[in-house]
Amino acid sequence: MNAIQIDDLHKHYGQVQALDGLNLQVQKGSVYGFLGPNGAGKTTTLRILAGLAKPDGGTVVIDGEREQSPEKPSLHIGYLPEEPAFYPWMTPLEFLNYVGEIFHLDGHTRKIRISELIAQSGLQDAQKRRIGGFSHGMRQRLGFAQAMINQPDVLLLDEPVSALDPAGRKEILELILSLRGQCTILMSTHILADVERVCDTIGIINSGKMVIQSERSELLNRYAVSALDVELANGSSTRLEEISRLFSQVDGVNAVTSEQNVLHIQTADVQGVSQRLMQSIVASGIQINKLEVVRPSLEDIFIRLTGEGRVQA
């Protein structure tokens, strides 16, 4: 059963077609990773789902309720915008209490829920401080807490970990993982490693259209691109460009990309190419630390499907 069902969604801003017939289905209880380059339509989609923007056409059904209305946002949705905004004169306790009241939580439930969320978001020491003095990461964590206050059935997260440090990111991702099965999560992010880690289903959007939507494992298998990674030893890492050119001339190599002292080689013939590479390495006196066959990454698939040279938000 789908918790979110979007059919043929259209939205334009002046001459810009933000969404162009978007279709999207999110299964109940799943964690859905929503990927796409800048301006692809991710935030617009989330804003429509949150009832903050109106579509020009198409239908949106969340938990059986057709379309969010500005006059009647759902009691069962939690929403974290890309840049959560707060009243600077309020404290986290006051803000969460305010949001809890909006969701009609009674005093006792509110108190318990707020203390749980403050602890979960690691804001115990700052719970009585003014939000105006908070760092970006603290705001993001408070934003996550306010989105969770009503124990939503559907949680919409727009770049939920983009402003967090590695430790904060890990905590929020673990929290998202712990919510799997309890609520449906639709999260947009540009950190592909996070999507690989927590999402069951992945949708890639480009120019307002869904390029592909699939379960994570199925997607990785379907778009499997065989590849080899060669890690150069210190002695050879200064010759990166020369070695890169040399490898790209090896028979069977489709493309060579580099990152620091690692060369990423795409090929359809792993066995043959690895033998020929070894011969070339020995003949040229190149020193390497290792040569290994690597599984395709979501980044490879993303770049291939969206035609992006690099991964963006």
């Binding site: 109106k54 006059e71 009243y87 909006i102």
Partner: protein
Amino acid sequence: MNLWTAFKKEIMEQSRTRRLLIAIILLTSFGMLSPLLAKLMPDIFAAIPGGEQFAGLIPPPTISDAVAQYVKNITQFGVLLSLLFCMGAVSVEKDKGTAAMILSKPMPRGSFILAKFLAISLTLFVALTAAALAGYYYTTFLFAALPLTPYLAMNGLILLYMLTYAAVTLFFSTLTRTQFVAIGGSAGVLILSSILGSLPTLGKFTPEALVTNATQLILDKPVTNWWGMWVSLILIFISLMASWIAFRRQEL
């Protein structure tokens, strides 16, 4: 409805951002100073070198001078406060993103707007009450006791005058994301109303007539028409309705 929840937050904001305190201090100061200045005006002129000749021209101050001074000062600064408090009420929330944050939850947009108007109205009411008490005490002390019921009615009309411009500014604040556009629009209405108010035929149909009515009430002069009051009430209603209609069509 969530109106009460939104109203409590707005009241907290009025207090935390010191708006309530500023309004009380400013209006109470003028409530106090107005009768005092009326009383001391001849003495002030006499104290200025070369001003002695003018002091003789100024008639002895009366209770009418004290009341006129009070009405003039409180309406001027009251309207200024209305404009300043309302100009960013919605526009800043839209610009900063707090409106989107709150309105993605079950907070009706009508309650969001109305709570702001009610909280600002309460702030102005409290500040005007303090000013009225101070004005009453000083006028009674320096001149004579003011008739209580007309004095209350006069302050009621002054409050209505301030709320009219609060509602108009709130409407402009709803239309834009820039608070200076909001205050510009509202100042335009204020200037237009002042110009129309000075015309003999149209003046009685503007909110400016409230100021005249307020003075007439306290000086026991007959109030010949209440058009200013009705126009102001209608303007408040229209401004709030228009704010709500415009706001619910907006994307955040």
